[in-house]
């Protein structure tokens, strides 16, 4: 193949454009341009994408049945086309579909949570007791250092995991680990959120349930497992998503959620909406 266009190619190209011009009438062209702006009437029904967003729930109880491999590939493919800063695509995936391996990961996280709850969960002791005061001091120190990681909400989950009341990976048949390339443009953590959201919504539209597993971060301190999975710089384990068929039919109806303030600036005025 020649890497430069020769004169003949150019002539052919012009012919082709001429043909197109003849075939497409003015009315056709107007119709084509109008189609570019899709009119949505006020109060219109949800489209398929909106429907998937509204019926998505975080699924923490899965059926035992393994989703077919091609469906997981479909989901990953939707992640591949997610937007990212500078189109740097700072991600890579590890798909784990072996029960033993997921069980091994689970075991490590449970041990880590048991360790954590023993050292920082003051709710194990009665208010006013000496142990409670001592442990609360630990907790408060950690909370000051990293208030998000030691937020009370995940602390409740840590306790449930340590007690065996809650499974970190929700006993899902498939777990997708999302690795982040630390050399990504801007804030690669944001891109990880976006790629995961694409996959979660794709899964929802295919009838699969998913749940983000932030506790997967605990695995990063398991060097043997990191070696086994081949996770090494510049990549780090950023997030995990459990995938499987949900129990019940959580997509049968939409739920209510709190509203958030919207400050709306238009026509030189500000409105506060909810």
């Amino acid at each position: 193949m020649s890497d430069a266009l020769d004169l003949e190619d150019l002539e052919n190209l012009e012919d082709l454009e001429c043909e197109l011009k003849v075939v497409e009438t003015k009315a056709d062209r107007t119709a084509r341009r109008r189609m570019a702006i899709q009119e949505i009437a006020p109060g219109a029904d949800w489209n398929d994408v909106e429907h998937a967003i509204l019926t998505r729930r975080s699924i923490r109880k899965f059926k035992g049945r393994q989703p077919p491999a091609h469906m997981i590939r479909r989901i990953l493919e939707m992640g591949r086309f997610a937007p990212s800063q500078g189109n740097c695509q700072p991600w890579s995936f590890i798909v784990i579909r072996d029960r033993e391996m997921i069980a091994e990961m689970e075991q490590y996280c449970v041990a880590a949570c048991q360790n954590m709850t023993a050292n920082i969960d003051y709710t194990n002791y009665a208010p006013g007791s000496e142990q409670r005061a001592a442990i609360m001091q630990n907790t408060q120190q950690l909370n000051r250092e990293s208030p998000n990681a030691f937020h009370p909400v995940p602390m409740t989950a840590v306790k449930s995991i340590a007690n065996g009341r809650f499974a970190v990976f929700h006993k899902a048949p498939t777990v997708i680990l999302i690795l982040m390339d630390k050399r990504g443009v801007g804030i690669p953590e944001v891109d990880i959120g976006v790629v995961g959201t694409n996959m979660v919504l794709a899964a929802q539209s295919l009838g699969l349930g998913t749940c983000w597993v932030g506790f997967s971060k605990l695995l990063t301190s398991n060097t043997a497992l990191m070696d086994k999975l081949g996770i090494a710089p510049p990549f780090e384990l950023a997030e995990a998503i459990s995938v499987g068929y949900p129990i019940g039919n959580p997509a049968q109806q939409t739920i209510s959620r709190q509203t958030h303030q919207i400050s709306w600036w238009e026509g030189g005025e500000q409105q506060i909406l909810y």
């Binding site: 923490r60 907790t139 909370n143 909400v153 109806q253």
Partner: protein, 113 residues
């Protein structure tokens, strides 16, 4: 008690949220309409915090909140699986006594604009 009516109770800047203290956390915001409950057990299965249980005679089981629970994060998964639409959370899960609630409105179902 609505989200908007909860006032910040603690002003000490060194104080950190205490997650088993009802003065600092909104508890028990789950409503269960017993006449709509057919005891199918699904809500007790899907609740991420494992807060719901069944009670009553075997032929007339109903869902209820467990006695000593604090972990509802108002995800409404219970409502999503409930065929009778009889169980739901209507208030945010928040450390309202510690964190000032800001820019949060009432609960609402998806609205069409």
């Amino acid at each position: 008690m609505t989200a908007a009516s909860v006032e910040k109770a603690v002003v000490d800047p060194d104080h950190l949220p205490v997650w088993d203290d009802p003065r600092e956390t909104i508890f028990r915001r789950v409503t269960i309409e017993l006449d709509k409950c057919d005891g199918c057990k699904l809500c007790t299965v899907v609740c991420p915090a494992n807060l719901l249980e069944l009670f009553g005679p075997k032929d007339n089981l109903k869902a209820r909140l467990k006695a000593d629970v604090t972990g509802c994060m108002s995800c409404n998964n219970c409502y999503a699986v409930c065929a009778g639409r009889g169980v739901y959370a209507t208030e945010p899960y928040d450390f309202a006594g510690y964190y000032e609630q800001k820019r949060i409105g009432e609960f609402a179902f998806p609205r069409k604009f």
